[in-house]
Symmetry: C2
Subunit: 250 residues, 2 copies
Amino acid sequence: MEISKTKAALYATLSSKKMRNRHGMFIVEGEKCVLDTLGAFDIVNILATPEWFGRHENIVSRYSDILLDTQSAVLAKISALSSPPEVMAVFRIPKDTVVPDLSGRLVLVLDGIQDPGNLGTIIRTADWFGVDVILASTDTVDIYNPKTIQSTMGSLKRVKVYYTSLQDVLRQYPDMPVYGTLLNGENIFHAGLSDSGFIIMGNEGNGISEEIRKFVTHPLLIPPYRKDSHGESLNVAIATAITLSTFRNY
Amino acid sequence: MEISKTKAALYATLSSKKMRNRHGMFIVEGEKCVLDTLGAFDIVNILATPEWFGRHENIVSRYSDILLDTQSAVLAKISALSSPPEVMAVFRIPKDTVVPDLSGRLVLVLDGIQDPGNLGTIIRTADWFGVDVILASTDTVDIYNPKTIQSTMGSLKRVKVYYTSLQDVLRQYPDMPVYGTLLNGENIFHAGLSDSGFIIMGNEGNGISEEIRKFVTHPLLIPPYRKDSHGESLNVAIATAITLSTFRNY
């Protein structure tokens, strides 16, 4: 079935967070990301050029009732990417956001990450290191932002992100260690690290916020190799990766 | 002095690699990046709003002959950023690109990195881990790309990047170990790692090229934490960070 003008116009608005929340839907673009995300969320529609559908019979037979033939020019209007893909999919934003029991788990906690690409890369990295629950402060950038989705490379299928009051959750687990990278922290490469607990990563410019810093029981530091000559800081996705790989060190 | 229309038009072309190479100049945007980069390259002009100059007397007195008063609207035309800054600087691209003696050093080698943000983040990370020489294949994205410059956060001052034939350089050091992340590599967390040698990172989609793979004497692997459930790969800047931190493990 050909996509209607109304639907094309609706889907084009989903690059905005406000409209994603109003309609409860988000878009995943490009063959790899679409195929990786199928099964992770309820699907609404698959939009592709007739040529793309022609090359993907397994998708066509399985999802026949929700396919929308969409010309390249229309895909370009809906796309948030500079090079619009031949296929995209519209998914429903899940409504249940009840944080599961976190006892005994290694949990990544994001306190105000602002850059969508950083968030996506962090999710992809958490997936690699077997961390499948992420708590995000409510001022963290939206995971359904097109740039975030693109940088996760399909990892949202395995990694669940919960937007919540970090303080409320941290208060519920007074016995679990809370790690956070702080300027006065212990060299992470020499620190004793537990295989469960919370690992807090802060905002790109300001680090961990005042309110959340109070919860940190184990301050950590990724020290620069040379004390006298180095950059000012690490990118937050990079710092997350080094931290997770040091915790998992297997 | 007010910027001339001719200069504004010329500087606006420097977002293109072709024009950067033709004119031998590149632009650094934003207060932090400009201040960090001063002294690292020959400076041609500093462009800023009269208000910015008013707040930075030390810059004004030191660089009085090359300051150009530039209105916000003109800065916006020259800028490659979505939020144009109040200040930018034009530097000369250095001409000498003779690779220094690499014996006994830890050298990062980039084989066809395409994303400007990844390249900038890799340079920033290398700086943190005390790696100050990077070799880049000639098909690696340009370090003077505005997005790369922005993501380096001033690290180009300390880290030198040489575009060169990787094969030619690697052949000159037959006794130095050559590390590369490959699918059949040894778990990097258990491998014996030297404090000198070459660390090769490959292209985002295809990894290390056929020609360069032959030089790898020590294949390494950053294994996923769970064998049965994980993403397909790590972002190349993330993989570089984990590799460097594991080598430096101090």
